[in-house]
């Protein structure tokens, strides 16, 4: 059989300082970008209309004027602060973004007024090609008011946090709360890293990006669980091994699955980035970054945190046991000293 990553013996936990360093560095870069931009009067995130409010008009032309010509037309009609953005998939289409308007002003109507300088719009209900005299057609609009923007923003944050809590509870029930906490910290890390990328490269954050972040939450935990499941299983089988060794072994045993499965998800997300069109681009990019760091974090963030935490609890437990001669922590797993059935110490995949 053809296979990659068979019988690897990498000391993942031994390299945890490196991993922590890399993670902290990437997160700091994102944080720095956000704070720096905010402090210098620019925006920490390139928020889309969903969260900032405003109007985006998608217009399609028979003969597309240059971006500058469109901008001039907008300025001449008093829409000075509009952003004209070409669509990568279609050269005849352009996005015109108008910031939040005063109450009672209709961004769509104002853009239409400006575009009428290039010729008339196709009649309602007819396609651009069908109308001989028309020069353009508004094929889509997104207008979000200030109230809705703020509402969507708050809701997005609340829901992401709620999803994390939900997952924390599930893992706490299925495993131990230290596992749950470690998994959630790892996911939090992924979300922050992804947001960091969005801040650094000023990619637009819209509603679909929030959907991508929530998917990422599920996906990253998914991955962490595969490792944790193996740790749980191996701890029962190899009671004499330290948690450190069991964790390392478990990561190595599941490594080929991690690489293959995530590689496949990565492939399908890549297909989305390349072929999914402009509307899905931000969403696909968020997933793209998320898949890479979600994979990384389950190995490099979740497991080391869990081991570190468990070791500290164990040490505290042992100290308590020495002084009071009884365990203080309810529901503690058997400490490594517990006598178990003698087993062959194995490092690879083999197991009785």
């Amino acid at each position: 059989m053809f296979q990659i990553l068979h019988d690897v013996k990498i000391d993942w936990l031994g390299n945890r300082r490196w991993f922590v360093g890399i993670s902290v560095l990437v997160m700091l870069a994102g944080l720095f970008s956000a704070i720096f931009r905010q402090a210098t009067g620019r925006q920490a995130f390139n928020l889309g209309v969903d969260f900032k409010g405003g109007t985006v008009v998608t217009a399609r032309f028979k003969q597309r004027p240059s971006d500058d010509a469109i901008r001039r037309a907008l300025v001449s009609k008093g829409v000075g602060d509009a952003v004209v953005q070409p669509v990568t998939d279609r050269t005849d289409t352009v996005l015109i973004k108008v910031p939040l308007e005063a109450e009672g002003q209709d961004g769509r109507a104002r853009v239409r007024e400006a575009l009428n300088t290039f010729g008339s719009e196709a009649r309602a209900g007819t396609e651009l090609e069908a109308d001989q005299k028309a020069a353009y057609k508004i094929v889509g609009t997104d207008a979000v008011g200030a109230i809705a923007g703020a509402q969507l923003r708050n809701k997005a944050i609340a829901v992401t946090l709620a999803a994390l809590v939900g997952i924390l509870i599930y893992i706490a029930v299925r495993f131990e709360w230290t596992y749950g906490a470690a998994a959630v910290i790892a996911v939090f890390h992924d979300v922050l890293v992804t947001l960091g990328f969005f801040s650094i490269f000023q990619l637009e954050v819209g509603l679909t990006v929030i959907a991508a972040l929530l998917t990422l939450v599920g996906f990253s935990v998914n991955d962490t669980i595969v490792v944790f499941d193996r740790i749980r299983e191996n701890r029962k089988l190899h009671r004499r091994d330290s948690l450190y060794k069991v964790t390392n072994d478990s990561i190595n045993q599941t490594l080929s699955r991690t690489v293959i499965a995530n590689g496949l998800v990565f492939l399908s997300v890549l297909a989305m980035v390349l072929f999914g069109g402009d509307v899905l681009r931000a969403f696909s990019l968020a997933l793209f970054i998320g898949v890479v760091f979600g994979t990384y974090s389950s190995i490099a963030v979740a497991s080391p945190i869990m081991v570190w935490w468990e070791q500290r609890l164990e040490a505290a437990n042992r100290a308590a046991a020495l002084s009071f001669n009884q365990p203080v922590r309810g529901g503690a797993r058997p400490a490594p000293v517990t006598p178990g059935p003698r087993k062959q110490r194995s490092t690879g995949a083999g197991r009785a």
Binding site: T208, A261, G277, V279
Partner: protein, 563 residues
């Protein structure tokens, strides 16, 4: 593994597969051979799957009912009525005011004689609904009378206003003949929001125009010397106020409103009549709630492109109107629409239940106005929070891009699985194809809406569905390496991987559920396809895949497993 067990499994799978296939191509008519060609499948999917607005095109409007305006008007009207009631009963009112603001709606009256508060309260509450203790809290300290709206009443009244607005909007939308609109309250109850989705409507301008129409109709007494003298109109607001002779203030039973005969008809557009002001008496003789019907019709004697609105009144309104007009012959009456006098006429004879609003309307404005009058006035103005429109061509672009990305993703995954797992890869591919068919069937059976993010959910499902197979296969390989026989390696591989598969599916479903609750429209579609895909995956990637292994193992004694 026993034989009959395998048979039962195969029967279950075949039945599920056939049901799925039937759901995709069957239910509308008997499937023909052409349905199994690529174009036939495309056709079936297009007719059977319900597409979201972002794919088929349409408008999505989120609006908010400005309930604070409703409460404000209510309080102000009650204040005016209370003041009039106190004066009518012969009490002197020194001053008074209406406080309006969230959590603070109050009517305050300071009588000239502070010892008379109890009598004034009685006189006021006899005539005005301020006596309703479920809405108003009365306090009479310090010689002033104060009615404060209770918090509970504020909430209830605001909720009722929203419900009423929803109902009126529904009437108007239906009258416009919009196909399959979705209309519902949106977000938290306290946010007073309404969501309106209209498939196929590319430009919601007309709909917004009709909804914007507050259409508060009032018939009022215009203060003027009687006919044959012309109706008293004033060139400026200040002049109108001065005519009242009360030192620049407007008494509570009078109101100064603009008067402009509207010229909507094209021919008159270039020469609009100047805006004037008139003084009217409040409260109005009758208001729009007394309307029975309103209809646009061509102006009698006017040009053929000029329209007016004929209205008729309900019984109670007609009685009131008849009594009033009978006692005010030769005086002037005005038709007020949204705080603007649209026409003034003197009363020739007693009128009962019919009237006209003439204002030289165009056909469409007259029809829209008649429609908004018929449906009743909105209790409060509405504002638009979100407005999203997608044209059919943009939607078609999205479908094309989504399908292309799905096929590329599917292709990449299939090629890899066949290359890496050989024979067992076929197994995974069969499971994946079954998953896709059942996914389509699931969307159709549950009547779920497929959106662009929904297509993204399908693509992601492709990636995540094979994860289960990868987990199982890797586990089987491990067991084989440790020297297990093929049957026991397969058995162990499935059993052990199953625990992990459950855990991973549950966590993803948890976050999808939050997404479903949070999201509207397109985003919700994403959660839907992802959850359907994952649930089906438990069947296709675990149950079906395992059955295929059992079948392979039952056929002959295997020397090696292609994995």
């Amino acid at each position: 593994m026993k034989k009959h067990n395998l048979l039962a499994r195969v029967i279950i799978i075949v039945v599920v597969f056939l049901l799925g296939l039937y759901a995709v191509i069957g239910p509308r008519r008997r499937p023909a051979l052409a349905d199994f060609k690529w174009s036939g499948i495309k056709q079936s999917l297009a007719t059977n799957i319900h597409l979201g607005l972002d794919l088929q095109g349409g408008s999505h409007l989120v609006m908010r009912v400005k309930t604070e305006e409703f409460l404000k008007r209510l309080t102000e009207e009650d204040f005016v009525a209370a003041q009039n009631a106190a004066k009518d009963a012969g009490y002197d009112v020194k001053s008074g005011r209406a406080d309006v603001g969230p959590g603070n709606y109050r009517v305050v009256i300071e009588p000239g004689d502070t010892s008379k508060t109890a009598e004034i309260k009685e006189a006021v509450e006899k005539k005005v609904e301020l006596g309703d203790t479920s809405v108003w809290n009365y306090s009479g300290s310090g010689g002033t009378l104060t009615w404060s709206m209770t918090g509970a009443a504020e909430r209830t009244l605001a909720d009722n206003a929203t419900q009423q607005a929803l109902h009126i909007i529904e009437t108007r939308i239906n009258a416009l003949g919009i196909a399959e609109p979705t209309l519902q309250t949106h977000g938290a109850q306290t946010s007073h929001q309404i969501l309106l989705q209209m498939p196929g409507v590319q430009d919601p301008e007309r709909v917004k125009e009709v909804l914007r129409g507050e259409s508060r109709l009032e018939l009022v007494h215009v203060i003027s010397p009687p006919s044959p003298q012309p109706a008293a109109t004033y060139a400026t607001q200040a002049e109108a106020i001065a005519s009242l002779g009360s030192a620049g203030t407007v008494p509570p039973n009078r109101k100064v409103v603009p008067y402009q005969e509207r010229n909507d008809a094209a021919a008159d557009k270039n020469q609009p009549k100047p805006k004037q002001w008139v003084v009217v008496e409040i409260p109005a003789i009758i208001d729009g709630s007394e309307l029975r019907n309103a209809q646009a019709s061509q102006s009698q004697g006017g040009r053929s492109d000029e329209y007016e609105i004929d209205f008729s009144l309900k019984k109670a309104g007609a009685d009131k109107f008849g009594a009033w007009t009978g006692s005010h012959i030769n005086e002037y009456m005005g038709v007020v629409l949204n705080d603007e006098v649209r026409s003034i006429a003197f009363i020739k004879s007693q009128i009962y239940d019919r009237g006209q609003i003439s204002g030289r309307f165009t056909k469409q404005t007259a029809e829209d106005l008649a429609l908004t009058l018929r449906s009743g006035a909105l209790p409060a103005p509405i504002e638009y929070l979100e407005e999203r429109t997608v044209g059919p061509s943009l939607g078609a672009d999205s479908i094309r891009a989504g399908v292309r990305a799905s096929l590329v993703g599917l292709g990449l995954v299939i090629v890899f699985m066949l290359f890496y797992y050989r024979g067992s890869g076929v197994n995974a591919v069969v499971a994946l194809m079954l998953n896709m068919i059942l996914m389509m069937a699931g969307l159709i059976v549950f009547g779920a809406t497929l959106t662009l993010p929904g297509i993204a959910g399908i693509i992601l499902t492709i990636g995540m569905a094979v994860d289960s197979n990868v987990l199982i296969f890797e586990r089987i390989r491990e067991e084989l390496r440790s020297g297990k026989t093929i049957p026991s390696a397969v058995e162990l591989g499935f059993n052990r991987a199953f625990i992990t598969i459950i855990d991973t599916h549950v966590t993803t479903i948890i976050s999808s559920l939050f997404l479903f609750v949070f999201g509207t429209g397109p985003i919700r579609g994403f959660a839907v396809t992802l959850v359907i895909g994952l649930l089906i995956n438990l069947f296709s990637a675990v149950y079906v895949s395992r059955t295929i292994f059992i079948w392979l193992l039952s056929r002959r004694k295997m020397e090696s497993l292609s994995i």
